[in-house]
């Protein structure tokens, strides 16, 4: 039986950050004047209820994302882990990740998370430069990240990651260098670094449209990417996916499952699933989700069955982003022909029996994918 991965969505935040368009809500957005306790009271019940409709394959990874999962107490999240253990069974050494806000953890809470089964934690640090954090609408003090990481290590997390964002309006290459070096100075095992994307409808998009702030150009973004890549590599963290670097053995198994098109099931509102070439996703709003689940109806909103061409396209799209690259077996002669010019210009290299992207090649990965699948 193939292993299954679970994603558990926690759709709550205390406040919405200016750049964020994720499926997350503040308590007062959901219910006037309500507290987090009130709006999330029966949420875990709904997730556990939805789990009953999932397949029973053994589970090797669970990822709690959001929103801000660390807003919920360990006993609540622990109920989901226990339910999965009962329903599916957990593989030995299963990776169980918590996404956490550095501001919302304490040594006691972290110890509680360990006690219910978590072993990996990913902190949303984003930046270590105050003016960049302010533009991102983040409230935490950069010093809290170090405290949070140290506390997580002390509590017993075996793998610790931080998320960083580059290309924030007003962020210089030196600002970014400070952020990356500050992160690498911590006792961490993994870094994810994402270029800031301005999503329509966000506060950030409005500020840019009004001309109050301006996004850095693509060349500046490219320089920032090359900088984080070289600093991570120099620090013993190699890239294993376009936006992810880790110490050996600390790759995020859950995310690797996505990129290998393994089977994964998303629990919670708006969560996506992939089972054997079929993709489906739940209704987006927490209230609609809970209503459906408690009425005994499926929360699945839409689904698609992938065609052979779509499966092939996705495979190229996902595997080219990874260190292992695309093996020759996956490529047709015309693919290799089209890649020749990219090789000539230093964007791809050949390793053994596969094609991988060089650092500058990773920066134009989407273009190369287009070229291959056209």
């Amino acid at each position: 039986m193939a292993d299954l991965s679970f994603y558990v969505h926690i759709p709550y935040c205390i406040k919405r950050c200016g750049y964020c368009d994720f499926n997350t809500y503040t308590p007062s957005e959901l219910q006037d004047g309500a507290t987090l306790e009130i709006v999330s009271a029966d949420y875990i019940d709904a997730v556990v209820q939805e789990l009953k409709s999932a397949p029973k394959d053994p589970v090797s990874t669970i990822f709690f994302g959001g929103g801000t999962p660390s807003l919920l107490p360990a006993k609540d999240l622990g109920r989901v882990i226990s339910a999965i253990r009962e329903h599916n069974g957990l593989r030995d050494g299963a990776e169980i990740t918590l996404e956490a806000n550095p501001d919302s953890v304490t040594p006691e809470k972290l110890a509680d998370y360990i006690s219910v089964g978590f072993n990996r934690i990913s902190f949303g640090a984003q930046s270590f430069v105050p003016h960049v954090l302010a533009t991102l609408d983040r409230t935490h003090n950069p010093d809290n990240v170090k405290k949070a990481v140290d506390a997580a290590r002390a509590a017993g997390f075996s793998s610790i990651s931080v998320d960083l964002i580059y290309g924030t309006p007003g962020e210089s290459l030196d600002d970014w260098r400070i952020t990356v070096e500050s992160a690498l100075a911590l006792d961490i095992d993994h870094i994810s670094a994402y270029a800031l994307i301005v999503e329509t409808g966000t506060k950030l998009a409005a500020q840019i449209n009004r001309g109050e702030i301006a996004m850095p150009d693509d060349d500046a973004m490219a320089d920032m990417y090359l900088l984080v890549d070289s600093l991570c590599e120099a620090h013993g963290m190699s890239w294993y996916e376009l936006s992810n670097w880790s110490k050996p053995g600390h790759e995020c198994k859950h995310n690797v499952a996505y990129w290998h098109n393994a089977n994964w099931w998303g629990l919670g509102p708006g969560a996506h699933s992939h089972m054997n070439g079929k993709r489906f996703w739940n209704v987006k709003h927490p209230s609609a989700y809970k209503t459906r689940v408690f009425a005994g109806e499926t929360p699945i909103h839409e689904s698609e069955v992938l065609t052979a061409e779509q499966i092939q396209d996705e495979k190229i799209m996902l595997s080219i982003r990874m260190r292992e690259g695309i093996s020759f077996e996956e490529l047709a002669p015309h693919h290799l022909e089209r890649l020749a010019i990219y090789k000539e210009n230093g964007y791809v290299s050949l390793h053994g029996d596969s094609v991988t992207l060089t650092p500058v090649g990773r920066l134009i990965a989407d273009r190369i994918v287009r070229e291959l699948v056209m």
Partner: protein
């Protein structure tokens, strides 16, 4: 009542020339010609009030929307004169109102004895009207000056009456004042047409001679030919013959327009009407030709026949290459109705397969393009318009160039380009601005006259190539819309001309080649290279864009290699989203053209070649 019911009015083929008045209306776009014509149809009761609609005589949507007349119409209007109480037949010949159709206008004028010079008395006479007025005067037509729109609050009838009087040599008080909108003065105008314009004169017993002044293709009836009988008689039993070709045609129908086609027993001296012969192509029934009868043909044709010559050329390409056959079909169809349109297939490395088309002028080009897009639902790209160059090589060989990319390289002795005489009318405050513009465009001042205290007529010779670019737009914008322009062919002259090629990564892009004056080559090169640098997306390698005369590079820009084209995040739900985006981009890729190894989006070609209006159209089509 001055109107006479149709059945009681003098009948076609039985109307004495003395009872006939043939006239046309000379007016600028917007000066109210169609409204006045509508009013005449109403007042003579040939169109019942309940059937009346605005711009009754304009048959094409384009004509109605733009307020211009492309094809002539000739309407038979019975009228009892309020002056002598006699019955008359007035034939109103509605003429095209644009410089591109000067030849057609001249034939319409040749079918008349008089012209109503209609001027908007809030605006005054415009250059094109003036040109047509001169044409009418050269044809010895009686001119009746009429000030229209006297109902407008900003009308200045005294000022413009003085202007008209000066132009045609009459007294200001001779100018009639009408309002096509309210009908005021229209009956008086009809009476004046009867009393001032001479009756036609012809020999009823001579072999038939009729002038073709228009020829229209109708999908049900074939070609409808509009004629003015000069001598003799045409009857439904005749076999007719075209003088220029000698080809004989059966007469299927002869009639008059009143204002719907009405078959008649024939047409006599001085009468105006239509013929249907079953011919399917207007090129077999050409404007200006003489119609005679096969059994008793004339030996001397009416003067003035000539073949229309295309003056402006442009490549037309379907936006979607798959539409090429549809474009060919649409052009074939359009040519049935447009003897002046010429085209031949051409292919461009950049734009694919299309046609090099020849037009009478810019408006003709715009109209053709608009009709192709509208009537055949095609999306087209047109290359920048150019003129015809006569190139003499060092070895004496002559080459005629209608496409700049075919301009010979090197070894050129002489290049000749078409020259026009341009007439510009404008308020005198703009004299300096206009002279500056004409100077920039290699113009040579011929003369200047004041029409009134503050309006001036400026005459220049200009290379036609300088006008086809954006001269008219510039003239309009620099004079806040007050200047009007007309021009006529004046042969060709030697010019210091060179071909500028635009190279992408060292490869010339045919669609961007241009023939320009040597002094302007650098400016063109800089303009085009910087425009393309903005329009062409960054590629995986650096792309130089160069402008060159022969092997000499005169301008250069670089498109730097792309640095970033990737979305950083790709988890869970991102995967479907990303794949769907990819599927959309696959579609978009089909619209990319490869120039060598450089991917150029269709939009870049359109934007580099087209006017702002074209770009808007493409954007709209994409939505």
């Amino acid at each position: 009542m001055p109107a006479i019911s149709l059945d009681k009015a003098p009948q076609p083929a039985a109307t004495k020339p003395e009872q006939i008045r043939n006239f046309c209306i000379i007016a600028h776009i917007d000066h109210g010609k169609s409204t006045l014509a509508d009013r005449m149809l109403g007042i003579t009761e040939v169109v019942e009030a309940r059937n009346m609609r605005a711009q009754y005589l304009d048959r094409m949507d384009i004509e109605r929307e733009r307020g211009i007349t492309i094809k002539s119409q000739a309407v038979r209007l019975p009228w009892r004169s309020g002056i002598d109480g006699q019955e008359y037949i007035l034939n109103m010949i509605d003429t095209p109102g644009h410089v591109d159709f000067t030849y057609e206008v001249s034939r319409s004028l040749a079918a008349c004895e008089g012209a109503v010079l209609l001027v908007d008395c809030a605006q005054g006479i415009e250059a094109q009207t003036l040109a047509n007025l001169y044409l009418a005067m050269e044809n010895n037509l009686t001119i009746i000056p009429v000030l229209n729109k006297i109902d407008l609050p900003n009308a200045q009838p005294e000022k413009f009456a003085a202007e008209l009087a000066k132009l045609i040599g009459c007294e200001p008080e001779d100018c009639l004042r009408v309002s096509g909108k309210t009908g005021e003065g229209v009956a008086e105008l009809l009476d004046q047409i009867v009393s001032q314009i001479p009756a036609p004169v012809g020999d009823a017993n001579a072999p038939a001679r009729a002038l073709i002044f228009d020829s229209v293709y109708d999908s049900y009836r074939g070609v409808v030919t509009y004629v003015r009988v000069v001598d003799g008689h045409l009857s439904p039993r005749d076999q007719i013959q075209m003088f220029s070709t000698g080809v004989r045609h059966e007469m299927l129908e002869v009639g008059v327009i009143s204002p719907e086609p009405l078959p008649s027993k024939g047409l006599g001296v001085g009468e105006v009407g239509y013929l249907i012969t079953g011919v399917k192509d207007v090129r077999q029934s050409r404007v200006g030709d003489t119609v005679t009868t096969y059994n008793n043909p004339t030996k001397s044709p009416l003067s003035g026949y000539k073949d229309p010559k295309p003056m402006v050329f442009s490549g037309l390409y379907p936006l979607d290459g798959a539409d090429y056959p549809a474009l060919r079909e649409a052009l074939d169809k359009l040519q049935l109705n447009d003897a002046a349109l010429v085209y031949e297939p051409e292919s461009s490395a950049a734009l694919g397969f299309g046609f090099r088309c020849g037009f009478l002028g810019l408006l003709h080009m715009e109209i053709v393009r608009e009709r192709l897009e509208r009537e055949s639902k095609l999306n087209l790209i047109s290359t920048a318009p150019n003129v015809v160059y006569q190139v003499t090589l060092d070895d004496g060989k002559e080459v005629r160039v209608t496409n700049p990319s075919e301009f010979p390289d090197g070894k050129i002795a002489i290049v000749r380009e078409p020259i026009v005489k341009a007439t510009i009318l404008a308020p005198s405050e703009f004299i300096g601005t206009i002279m500056e513009l004409c100077q920039e465009r290699r113009g040579l001042l011929l003369g200047m006259d004041y029409l009134s205290e503050d309006r001036v007529e400026i005459r220049y010779t200009l290379p036609l190539a300088e006008i086809v670019f954006d001269f008219f737009d510039q003239l309009k914008s620099r004079t806040r819309g007050y200047a009007s322009l007309d021009y006529e062919e004046k042969g060709d002259e030697e010019g210091n001309l060179v071909k500028v090629d635009i190279l992408l990564q060292g490869e010339a892009v045919d669609a961007f080649s241009a023939v320009v004056h040597r002094d302007k080559a650098y400016a063109y090169g800089v303009m085009m290279t910087s425009k393309l640098r903005e329009l062409i997306p960054r590629q995986q390698f650096e792309v130089p864009i160069q402008a060159a005369i022969g092997a000499r590079i005169i301008a250069r820009e670089n498109i730097r290699a792309i640095r970033k084209d990737v979305l950083a995040k790709c988890y869970g739900g991102d995967i479907s989203r990303k794949r769907k985006l990819l599927e959309k981009q696959k579609e978009g890729k089909k619209r990319m053209k490869m120039v060598g190894r450089v991917e150029v989006p269709q939009e870049a070609f359109v934007a580099a070649l087209a006017t702002d209006a074209d770009i808007e159209k493409v954007k709209a089509a994409r939505k």
